[in-house]
């Protein structure tokens, strides 16, 4: 009975919070407070949440440093766009999402098998090279319309779809991490040699986590291609990969809630800076350096955000107050 209570409570809290969030935003949209401009920011944040959470799976939890996440995103976006331009309506949309995710996963497998034997910076550079190759290929083949990109893409994504995909993928990855495969991945991050000597097939789990990450990035790209009307190869260049990595590191490597908080905070910062076009990137760069110098472990470190954490923080604050007041009394 006791165990059951413990199991049920956090789950209820989690899902309760998620549903409330959905309802509040839906209400704000239908009342008209959140206009199209704000909604575009929300879509960007949602897509970035998926990208950051999936990169966190690869880099933060499995410990494989990837600098080519935008490459998978571009595959998802292009495959989805090619499908939605040919198959009309919601079936086309769903088929496009599936095609985007599946194509990205296949490329993830093809890239992951040879390159995941590499370690650290070498893997980062190999994935970077892979993403650049993908970008150059999209720039030069006919079906993607070269450097001009595909335009007039049909728009499907509304708040409900976005929410479904973002929440769905986050839950998928959290559950994956709590499974035995997920724990194997975490053990690879902690110590590859120790994990191997415990009988964990390192390559298999690395590639599994890489494929799941690539699949989710493909879905994120497909969402991009079904909300924004134009996709171009340049949108998914090195800068995008870096943006995703920055969100993950800023939020905290190995913290899912950190990635979500990171995506939201950085999304809001970039919205606030949007009016300063000239200095936007300069301020962003300075912020990046300052954050890394003063808090290299990111906002959340590797901890997860929870109500218990808030409670503890509250107690600590309370304790401080009490100490202060005691001192004053003395």
């Amino acid at each position: 009975m006791k165990v059951k209570n413990l199991m049920e409570k956090p789950a209820f809290r989690k899902f309760g919070g998620i549903i409330v969030l959905y309802a509040v935003v839906q209400l704000l949209i239908s009342v008209g407070i959140l206009n199209d401009y704000y909604f575009a920011t929300i879509v960007t944040i949602g897509i970035n949440v998926i990208l950051a959470v999936s990169l966190n799976l690869i880099t933060g939890f499995t410990g494989q440093f990837s600098l080519g996440h935008a490459g998978f995103m571009s595959i998802g976006a292009y495959f989805c766009a090619i499908v939605t331009l040919r198959v009309p309506g919601i079936p086309g949309f769903l088929l496009g999402m599936l095609a985007g995710g599946a194509a990205a996963a296949v490329v993830g497998l093809l890239v992951g098998l040879p390159t995941l034997r590499l370690k650290g910076d070498y893997l980062a550079i190999a994935t970077l090279g892979m993403a650049e190759i993908i970008r150059i290929v999209f720039q030069n083949i006919e079906i993607t319309n070269g450097a001009a990109g595909l335009s007039n893409l049909p728009k499907f994504v509304n708040w409900s779809w976005l929410f479904l995909f973002v929440a769905g993928i986050t839950v998928l990855i959290v559950n994956f991490l709590h499974s035995s495969i997920g724990r194997a991945c975490i053990s690879i991050r902690e110590d590859e040699i120790a994990a191997e000597s415990m009988g964990i097939n390192i390559t298999r789990y690395k590639v599994t986590s890489f494929i799941i990450g690539a699949f989710c990035a493909g879905i994120a790209g497909a969402l991009y291609a079904t909300y924004f009307p134009i996709i171009k190869p340049d949108t998914f260049g090195f800068a995008k990969s870096v943006d995703i990595l920055v969100i993950v590191v800023f939020g905290g490597l190995g913290s899912i809630t950190g990635s979500i908080v990171g995506a939201v905070v950085l999304g809001l910062i970039s919205m606030l800076l949007a009016s300063w076009t000239d200095l936007r990137m300069v301020i962003y760069a300075i912020l990046l350096i300052v954050i890394m110098i003063f808090r290299p472990q990111g906002l959340m470190g590797s901890r997860e955000f929870s109500l218990a954490m808030l409670k503890r923080a509250g107690e600590q604050l309370n304790g401080l107050f009490h100490k202060k007041s005691k001192k004053e009394e003395n």
Binding site: T59, F65, P114, T115, R117, L118, G120, D121, Y122, A124, I125, A126, L128, G129, M130, E132, I133, I136, V137, Q139, N140, I193, F238, V242, L245, V246, V249, L253, D278, L279, R280, M281, V282, Y284, A285, I286, L288, I289, M292, I293, P296, Q297
Partner: protein, 294 residues
């Protein structure tokens, strides 16, 4: 045959540039294990300093080259002291993100000050603007100059690294930082000196590219920077002769691909080479394979 020789000559001059940039990457990686993404922007700043010297101060090429190298040297040391030194003991990924931050700062800071427009170098006069025809092969004086300057700088670098005390300190620090410190080597000075050397070479590459291709812009560093890094990895990262060989190899491959095949795919082929090298021999051409200790 003539076209072949022509491509070799073009490849050698392009390769010289890559080699100069790759040296900076490889030295910094060798000593603090950081992919210095800001390095390619130091090269860009070098090109702009050279442009300012030649356009506004009307200096000759060689004085401009020296000023540009000096300016980049100072910039490199400042970057190291301000951005990288506080992170010496942080995780590698944090240092890498800082490097990317510095790179963005230089690129977009430059864009803010000099605007994003492409600028053209003043045309060269006298012997440097001439070209020679030797049996159907065109050899520009500029190309000879680029290769000559590169070779002189590389010989200088070799002398510094192999013969001087600070060079010895650099090699010791790159082998084992803690042991070097115990032997009384000032590791901080050595690292700063490494950045100074690498950045000066990047500055030289910047002005040479400006004169050779005639156009510069604030984002010009990104692709050459990546390719130079590929060159460094190809030759074996941390190995100085490796970076030179890698630079020339990548330069020649690139000119051959655009000369005989499709120039659209030249970058893709460079990256494909990178991935193949990494998979077949991750330590690079001249690098030693290190065994992992348990």
């Amino acid at each position: 045959m003539e076209q072949f020789m022509q491509q070799v000559i073009n490849g050698l001059s392009l390769g010289s540039i890559y080699a100069l940039i790759a040296l900076g990457y490889t030295m910094v990686y060798g000593i603090i294990k950081l992919i210095n993404f800001a390095h390619c922007d130091v090269y860009m700043i070098g090109a702009y300093v050279g442009y300012a010297c030649m356009t506004f101060l009307h200096l000759g090429l060689i004085p401009s080259l020296c000023i540009s190298m000096l300016a980049c040297m100072i910039l490199g040391v400042v970057i190291e002291k301000v951005a990288y030194k506080p992170l010496r003991n942080a995780t590698r990924i944090a240092a890498l993100i800082t490097a990317i931050g510095v790179s963005y700062l230089l690129e977009y800071g430059m864009m803010y000050f000099v605007k994003a427009d492409v600028r053209t170098y003043p045309p060269l006069e006298g012997i440097l603007s001439q070209s020679f025809h030797i049996g159907g092969v065109t050899l520009k004086a500029m190309q000879i100059l680029i290769v000559a300057v590169t070779v002189v700088l590389m010989i200088l670098l070799q002398i510094i690294v192999k013969k001087t005390r600070i060079g010895k300190a650099m090699r010791a620090t790159s082998q084992d930082q803690d042991a070097a410190e115990l032997m009384g080597i000032n590791v901080n000075t050595t690292i700063s000196f490494t950045f100074a050397l690498g950045s000066a070479l990047a500055g030289a590459a910047g002005i040479l590219v400006g004169v050779y291709y005639n156009s510069i812009d604030p984002l010009m560093g990104f692709l050459p920077g990546l390719k130079a890094f590929v060159a460094a990895v190809f030759g074996g990262i941390g190995v100085i002769p490796g970076a030179m060989i890698g630079g020339y190899f990548i330069g020649i491959v690139e000119t051959f691909v655009s000369g005989y095949g499709s120039s659209m795919y030249k970058d893709a082929i460079v990256f494909a080479i990178l991935i193949i090298v990494l998979i077949v021999k991750p330590s690079g051409l001249l690098g030693k394979a290190t065994r992992e200790k348990v």
